[in-house]
């Protein structure tokens, strides 16, 4: 995927992409109130502390919802349609967006998923697979 759609070099979000390139799923952990957060932010919206570490989490969860793009709204996405984006609630709490591989059947809200990681045009990204 083109760099313009992925904040790979963002000082905060960039750390997610570095971990993904190593096959690890990480989210931010607030060292003050223990909240896990996604998407990445420079501070904690629960307690306003900026004392943060990134922690590895088990990459499993449940589909909260999904959409299937039949139109590319960006030149970078033209070769990828149709593609599916799912919002998944991780078993550890936060909601994460990622691509979804449909597998042998259509996805449904409530399906269990595992994460795999792939290199999409040079960007390490998460892809959900129905468990």
């Amino acid at each position: 995927m083109s760099e313009s759609l992925s904040p790979v070099y963002d000082p905060v979000a960039g750390q997610y992409f570095q971990a993904a390139a190593e096959g690890r799923l990480v989210v931010q952990h607030c060292n003050s109130c223990d909240a896990l957060r996604w998407p990445p932010l420079p501070g904690c919206p629960e307690c306003r502390s900026r004392d943060t570490t990134w922690v590895d989490v088990v990459p499993t969860g449940t589909i909260w919802s999904f959409v299937v793009y039949h139109r590319a709204f960006s030149a970078a996405l033209k070769d990828q349609i149709p593609y599916t984006v799912a919002m998944v609630q991780l078993d550890v709490g936060p909601y994460l967006l990622g691509r979804l591989v449909n597998g042998e059947r259509l996805p449904a809200v409530g399906d269990r998923v595992d994460a795999e990681f792939l290199d999409l045009d040079g960007v390490a990204t998460i892809r959900w697979r129905i468990a």
Partner: protein
């Protein structure tokens, strides 16, 4: 809760440009053309204004400074808003007039997103984790919320399609509407998905156009030629925690705005003669019908299927065709239509003497606004 504004402030002038394509014009020129029409409609002159609230276009142009230089006025109060939909502009005007900063305010909006080929697929605030996953364009988030609604409540395509089909029926009675070709339910269901579960007809068109209003005190309005449309009540609520709010895509904060406006005005859904809901996607309408209590939570599908919002139904909804069929204009034309209906100037689609209308809008997934308007100054007090 007290409602100190009911009946004290009125919309006395409205104006707009052609909605469609206005090639070669800046958003400021378009806003000023609308302003000229609004001031003329009000029976006032530009010299009578003492306030300007300019709403920036989706591209970010058209603020108080750039519109102000074309208007040529140094006024006591000028301000800019990032938030579209006009509800936020109207509320700021009410606040400014109530605080004594000004008495007669011009609200402006101009857009050239169509001629300017604005890229709605580009992330509005820069690349983020959503765009990285391929979730771009407003249809992505709206589609996620609709898919969830379908899964949790059993809403069907045919029920949801009543919004697009119904608004096209209204648009056929509106000479300003851009999409007037008949759209049957079979036509709708035969459309391919654009961002499944949304079809093309569930999502706004992109058009150029400007809108402006003149807002003033009830005392001043009494001396002006148009039937005043009073602001009976207003409410807002933020959802700016955004995705750090569980299930934010369902926009639960809309319900907070709903509770506030009903409590402030002492009114309820049964008091609304005509309803306007800003609709960049039809999902907005479904959510707001439910949260504002026009039907129960999760019951939007069956409610729509019963046909209440169609011409002749008990809850006339977006009688101009809305953003799905009339024009884009970030919801500003919804307020134009509400005022036309209340004044009795809506031509072929005129309702039977409506007294009170409501306009509901939101700024994407971060902020809600609601206004109740009436030709009866005592409504909401």
């Amino acid at each position: 809760m007290p409602n100190p504004i009911a009946g004290k402030i009125a919309i006395v002038g409205l104006g707009h440009t052609v909605q469609g394509e206005l090639p070669g014009q800046s958003v400021e020129e378009i806003a000023v053309d609308a302003a000229i029409n609004a001031v003329e409609d009000s029976g006032l002159r530009f010299g009578d204004l003492d306030g300007l609230i300019a709403c920036k276009s989706v591209q970010g142009n058209g603020n108080d400074v750039t519109v102000g230089q074309l208007l040529g006025l140094n006024l006591p109060y000028v301000q800019s808003l990032d938030y579209g939909t006009c509800n936020f502009s109207l509320h700021l005007a009410v606040a400014a007039i109530s605080a004594g900063l000004c008495k007669t305010v011009l609200l402006t909006y101009g857009a050239n997103a169509r001629s300017g080929k604005f890229d709605f697929g580009k992330p509005m605030y820069g690349a983020d984790m959503a765009s990285s996953a391929g979730l771009v364009h407003i249809a992505g988030r709206a589609g996620l919320a609709l898919q969830r609604h379908k899964a949790v409540y059993g809403t069907t395509d045919k029920q949801f399609g009543m919004l697009a089909v119904g608004q096209r029926q209204w648009a056929q009675k509106n000479p300003n509407a851009i999409f007037r070709t008949p759209l049957s339910m079979d036509d709708y269901l035969a459309e391919k998905y654009m961002v499944e579960p949304l079809r093309r007809s569930d999502v706004t068109m992109i058009s150029d156009g400007g809108v402006a209003f003149v807002v003033t005190t009830a005392e001043r309005a009494a001396d002006l030629p148009r039937k005043p449309v009073f602001v009976s009540g207003i409410a807002e609520h933020a959802g700016v925690r955004g995705e750090h709010n569980p299930e934010n895509l369902m926009r639960p904060w809309l319900e907070d705005a709903a509770q506030a406006i009903w409590a402030n005005t002492g009114l309820g859904p049964e008091d609304i003669d005509a309803l306007y809901i800003q609709d960049p996607t039809a999902l907005w309408t479904l959510q707001m019908l439910e949260y504002y209590g026009f039907c129960g939570l999760g019951e939007g599908g069956p409610f729509l299927a019963e046909g209440h919002t169609l011409p002749g139904g008990k809850l006339p909804l977006n009688t101009h065709g809305g953003q799905l069929s009339e024009s884009y204009t970030w919801g500003w034309m919804h307020l134009v239509e509400a005022i036309r209906q209340l004044r009795g100037e809506a031509g072929e689609r005129q309702l039977d003497a409506p007294e009170t209308a409501m306009y509901l809008s939101s700024h994407g997934f971060v902020k809600a606004a609601a206004s109740i308007l009436s030709t009866n100054a005592s409504v909401g007090s």
